[in-house]
C-alpha cells in the first residue's frame, strides 16, 4: 500500500465537486505556473529522502542501447559484492533478461518493464525499491532504459546520473544528445579495449563532452578486460562515503524496510 501516492487500492480523495456555476458561465484566465515534471520531481524527492534515511547510495545509469551497461554492472557487482551490499533496479521496455543476468552475478535485482515507455520514472522506481528492500547502507544501481534522450528529464532520486558511452558509437554523441551529458556527473567511456579496431577519437569526444558539461568526471572502462574498473569502483566507494559524511549522523538507518 502506497502512503505517498495512494495508487494501490487507496481511493483518491477528490474535492467535493461542488461547483459555483452561474447559468451563463464566463470564460476567464487562471494563472497556473506549475511544472510538467512536478509530480515526478515530488516522487524523486521522496525517494531521495528514503534513500538518505536508509543510507542507500543510488546511481542512475543511462546510455544508448548496446553501450555495455549490463556487462559493466555485472563486472561492478563481482568487484564490490564482498565490500558493500548491492541491489539493482533494471529498466527495459520488455523482458526480464537483464535482471536475470544481475541475479546470476550475485545481487538482488528487480525488473521494471516500461512497455511503450522510454524512461524510468521516480514513481515506479520508488515502488520497485520497496519490493527490492535493499539492506541499509546499500549501493543501489538503477539501470535506466537504453535511451540518451528521455531519461535526462526524469529525476529518480539518485545521488548521481552516470552516462555510459561506448567507443563503438559516434564520438559526437555529447553534442547530439547534450541534455543527457549536461545532466550527468560521471561519464564512463566504455569498451576501450576496442579502441585499436575503431576510428573513435577519444580526445575529440571528451572535448565535446566537457563543452556540454565542464564538471563531468570521466573514466575509461572495459568490462571485457577489466581496464578502469578499479577506478570506477573506487569512485563509487569514495562518493558513497562522501554522501554519508555529508548526511552526518542522519545517515543512520531509520527502520528496517518492509
Amino acid at each position: 500500500m502506497c502512503t505517498t501516492c495512494g495508487c494501490q487500492g487507496g481511493g483518491r480523495i477528490e474535492g467535493d465537486g461542488h461547483q459555483h456555476g452561474h447559468g451563463g458561465a464566463r470564460l476567464r484566465r487562471v494563472s497556473i505556473e506549475r511544472g510538467l515534471l512536478e509530480k515526478n520531481d515530488a516522487f524523486a524527492r521522496a525517494n531521495r529522502e528514503a534513500f538518505a534515511r536508509q543510507g542507500i547510495f543510488a546511481l542512475n545509469l543511462v546510455s544508448s542501447p548496446g553501450s555495455g551497461k549490463t556487462s559493466l554492472l555485472t563486472a561492478t557487482i563481482a568487484l564490490l559484492k564482498n565490500r558493500v551490499p548491492i541491489a539493482v533496479v533494471e529498466g527495459d521496455q520488455q523482458t526480464t533478461l537483464d535482471a536475470e543476468r544481475i541475479r546470476a552475478a550475485g545481487a538482488p535485482a528487480i525488473q521494471i518493464n516500461t512497455g511503450q515507455g522510454c524512461h524510468l520514472d521516480a514513481h515506479s522506481v520508488g515502488h520497485a525499491v520497496e519490493r527490492l528492500a535493499p539492506l541499509p547502507d546499500s549501493l543501489l544501481l538503477i539501470e535506466n532504459v537504453g535511451n540518451l534522450v528521455c531519461p535526462a528529464a526524469f529525476d529518480l532520486g539518485e545521488a548521481h546520473k552516470v552516462v555510459i558511452l561506448s567507443v563503438t558509437e559516434g564520438e559526437d554523441k555529447p553534442l547530439k544528445y547534450p541534455d543527457m551529458f549536461a545532466a550527468a556527473d560521471v561519464l564512463l567511456l566504455n569498451k576501450v579495449d576496442l579502441l585499436p579496431h575503431v576510428t573513435f577519437d577519444v580526445d575529440r569526444c571528451l572535448l565535446y563532452a566537457r563543452r556540454v558539461n565542464p564538471r563531468l568526471h570521466v573514466l575509461r572502462t572495459s568490462a571485457t578486460t577489466g581496464e578502469g574498473l578499479d577506478a570506477w569502483t573506487g569512485w563509487i566507494l569514495a562518493a558513497a562515503r562522501g554522501a554519508k559524511r555529508a548526511r552526518g549522523s542522519h545517515g543512520m538507518p531509520a527502520l528496517a524496510p518492509g
Binding site: 474535492g15 461547483q19 487562471v30 509530480k39 528529464a153 565535446y208 563543452r211 565542464p214
Partner: protein, 113 residues
C-alpha cells in the same frame, strides 16, 4: 516518447487546478515549453489530444509559448542568446554558457468557464 508522459502530468495539473477553481470546463491550455527543453512541440500537440479526450479539457485549444534559450557567462557576466546547450559565450569563447532561460516545461495558464 516522453512527450506522452509530460502530457499525462499536464492533465493532472490542469484538472486539479480547474476543480480547485470550481470550473467545469477547460477551454484553452497555455504551456510554456522552452526551446532548450528537449521536447518536440509537435509530439506534445499530438499527445495533448490523446490524453485530454474524455477529460475536463476535452476539445480544448492548446497554445504553446516557446521562450528562446539564453545563457549566462561566468567569465564576463553577460547574458547571450543560446540555440544549443553547448553554445559558447560570444565574447569569451572558452566557456560554455550556463543556461538561464529556454528550459521551461510549465503549464502557464488556463482559460476556464
Amino acid at each position: 516518447m516522453h512527450e506522452l508522459s509530460l502530457m499525462e502530468g499536464m492533465l493532472e495539473i490542469i484538472e486539479d487546478s480547474a476543480r480547485a477553481q470550481g470550473c467545469h470546463r477547460i477551454r484553452t491550455v497555455i504551456l510554456e515549453i522552452g526551446k532548450l527543453a528537449g521536447v518536440e512541440v509537435e509530439a506534445l500537440r499530438f499527445a495533448f489530444d490523446a490524453v485530454t479526450a474524455g477529460s475536463l479539457a476535452a476539445g480544448a485549444a492548446l497554445e504553446i509559448e516557446e521562450p528562446e534559450g539564453q545563457g549566462w557567462c561566468a567569465a564576463c557576466g553577460k547574458v547571450s542568446p543560446v540555440t544549443a546547450r553547448y553554445d559558447m559565450c560570444p565574447r569569451c569563447p572558452t566557456l560554455p554558457l550556463q543556461i538561464t532561460g529556454g528550459a521551461e516545461l510549465r503549464v502557464k495558464a488556463l482559460d476556464v468557464d
